[in-house]
Symmetry: C2
Subunit: 427 residues, 2 copies
């Protein structure tokens, strides 16, 4: 029975019972962290052999004869470009290979827009107002970057097919202050949605009011499937944009941080020829080059897309049961109660949970009190402000299955308790 249809007496009775369960959970003194999309130790173990493929007896020459130990090749090893291009379904000539963090590549691109401007357009710091569109719920670290540069963020609701494209088109095509949009197009953070072909095509066919509008296409989970037989596919945004005569409209980002070692991977940016030239003009001032030895390590270990995909299936085997266990608890404990809804992703790193309005913060706080750390409520929205106070991001990767089960049960208890209180409050 839905909680809202229960009598006040029934709810008070239930509250007593669940409070007991909560008290019991709390007494266990747990310390479980589901806050960040952090790989588990077992996932890191999977990649250990990668540390052997480049050693003191290795040939350190890249395919083009470059000594990977020396300066040179600002934009990356040709074979690393190929690997990263394959990973995101584009071609090597669109790719620059960077250091260990795609987040810092995104920060760099925003920073470049702010201080230099794109392709001869004015630097954003010289403008009165710069706005970004932010599909919500979304990735808190994206929003933190735009916030620190003083860029005004506008919420765009997400659907299962991607951002609300009517709204996106309306803003982008009418407001020249709108300079960009943050997207996680595949297995989105936190909902696990994958943009439909129509959404990708509408992005590619945008007619922006601002010449320097860019889509920030963070393809963070390009190969991060949970299943071998049920995998989302997404159109290649770069070629769609080219087809639409809009080649310069997009920057695509990816990394191997959640493929091999978090923080020990390599990152890539993919873009049009014009954009790459523009970026490299700046990049050559910024650095002599990135760590080519780690690029070589990647290429020698993964070899090609098949190698990457096979590796990701090992990761899936470790992470999938945690997703399934979490979803199972949510289903068993919360289905049909009308106090929350959630998604069942086929990839990525998160489960998105929508509580009753006005309950998210209280649920996260209650979980914390019982030793279960979740991402801060509101974090999935710009400025940390979820006006509905409803969305909670669950990151099941780091704890063990047993811990995750325990944590999910406590989470369900907290959702119940807070929801009952909320319903009683409004009677």
């Amino acid at each position: 029975m839905q909680y809202s249809q229960m009598s006040t007496e029934e709810l008070q009775e239930l509250k007593k019972k669940i409070s007991e369960q909560y008290k019991e959970s709390k007494s266990k003194g747990l310390n479980l962290n589901m806050a960040r999309g952090k790989p588990a130790t077992a996932q890191l173990d999977v990649s250990m052999d990668m540390l052997d493929v480049v050693n003191s007896s290795s040939d350190m020459m890249a395919e083009d004869g470059t000594d990977c130990r020396n300066y040179g090749l600002l934009d990356g090893l040709p074979e690393a470009k190929k690997l990263m291009a394959d990973m995101i379904d584009t071609t090597p000539e669109h790719v620059i290979v960077y250091g260990n963090s795609s987040l810092s590549v995104m920060y760099d691109q925003i920073s470049r827009g702010y201080s230099q401007g794109y392709l001869g357009n004015p630097a954003w710091c010289k403008l009165d107002k710069v706005k970004f569109l932010c599909p919500v719920p979304g990735y808190d670290r994206h929003f933190a970057i735009t916030e620190i540069f003083g860029i005004e963020m506008i919420n765009i609701p997400m659907t299962q097919d991607g951002p609300d494209m009517d709204l996106v088109e309306q803003y982008v095509q009418n407001d020249a202050c709108v300079k960009g949009i943050w997207c996680v197009p595949k297995y989105s953070n936190p909902q696990g949605y994958t943009y439909s072909d129509e959404t990708v095509k509408r992005f590619a066919n945008l007619k922006p009011a601002a010449k320097d509008f860019r889509i920030f296409w963070d393809n963070a989970y390009a190969i991060h499937h949970l299943y071998e037989d049920r995998q989302d596919k997404i159109l290649d945004i770069l070629s769609e944009c080219e087809k639409a005569g809009n080649a310069d409209i997009v920057f695509e980002f990816a990394s191997t941080s959640k493929v091999c070692f978090a923080g020990g991977g390599i990152a890539a940016l993919a873009a049009s020829k014009n954009n790459l030239e523009d970026i490299k003009k700046n990049l050559t001032v910024q650095t002599i080059g990135y760590d080519k030895i780690n690029q070589l390590r990647h290429v020698r270990y993964f070899k090609d897309l098949n190698g990457l995909n096979a590796h990701m299936m090992k990761q899936a085997a470790l992470i999938r049961p945690k997703f399934e266990a979490t979803i199972k608890v949510l289903e068993e404990e919360l289905s049909g109660l009308g106090i929350g809804s959630w998604d069942t992703p086929r990839g990525g790193y998160f489960i998105s949970f929508d509580a009753m309005e006005g309950c998210a913060k209280a649920i996260v706080a209650k979980c914390k009190e019982a030793g279960v750390i979740l991402t801060n409520a509101g974090a999935t929205f710009p400025y940390g402000k979820d006006v509905k106070d409803s969305n909670i991001r669950i990151a099941p990767s780091f704890p063990s299955i047993e811990e995750m089960l325990e944590a999910a049960k406590i989470f369900a208890i907290c959702v119940k308790l807070v929801s009952i209180e909320k319903i009683l409050e409004t009677r």
Copy 2:
């Protein structure tokens, strides 16, 4: 005899003879590159064992229990902070360990000043004018960074004790638009000068007109000695600034790019507590963290400062003969002719040569024609403008000794030829 004291006939005679030598050199079709401070292959070979110390059977935990394979520790492994601190004679609590490039750390700091501002001061992009002092000759990549941010650069002449401090004090203490100065305090690029204790103390005791003035102390060659028995020492700028009540006035930079692998090293920034907190507020938006596996690799391989120093003596054994060979050719071929002067550094990566005024570009061009590539004339000055057209940077590290000898001889021939032409021109 000095060329300028020779008769026109003598000079014309000499020119004929040297032109023949030049022709002969040219006919060899050489291709020698002395343009950049690039380690030689043999120098890279010295560090190959470093690639074995972190392997698939390694304990991947840092001293504090951090799994180096996962996210975490924004500012670096504690033991990597210690290693980098020891390298530049400071203490770990002053240090952030970054990725592979100190140049990009410097770019970042300029970029942060430009777009965010330091310690609550206005972002430079909001000011009408920002100026930087540039000791000359200096490092072209420093100047390129300030140039790309539209910062006006002011030349400060170098002396054997460091920049002309009277002039530095005059600018810094009277002009609030002066926000920084580029310094390579030890084995300076390109002259190989090391700042005297008095110079360091005068830097530490500056009373800037601008609250957000910073010394950009690029300690690039801290342990890059050419000799075991003759090593320059420099005062620790951070503690001198603290003593002077000026703790926040300096950012210090260093890296291991020319210790182990160029582009495969780690970089560090050292600064006051206030500055570090200010930086980390921004850095946490910019990245989740740097490559801790490479930090671990450094610590396990070098162990401590003794390990670093012992390693650098192996490097010195390889690079010193090239310096000595070059200097020997310069002495044999050019001493007493009054057509050029040079320094004999005890460390670093460069030899600085001052030709007669108005001759540097022509010498570099003539060398190029004969297959010897030097750093562009003017590159050691802001905007690439050496008003005297005199300074040439020689980078002897990359070629073999035999190649370096050959290249130095051709260089001497070109200096002679161009100088004779210059003298004749003015008669």
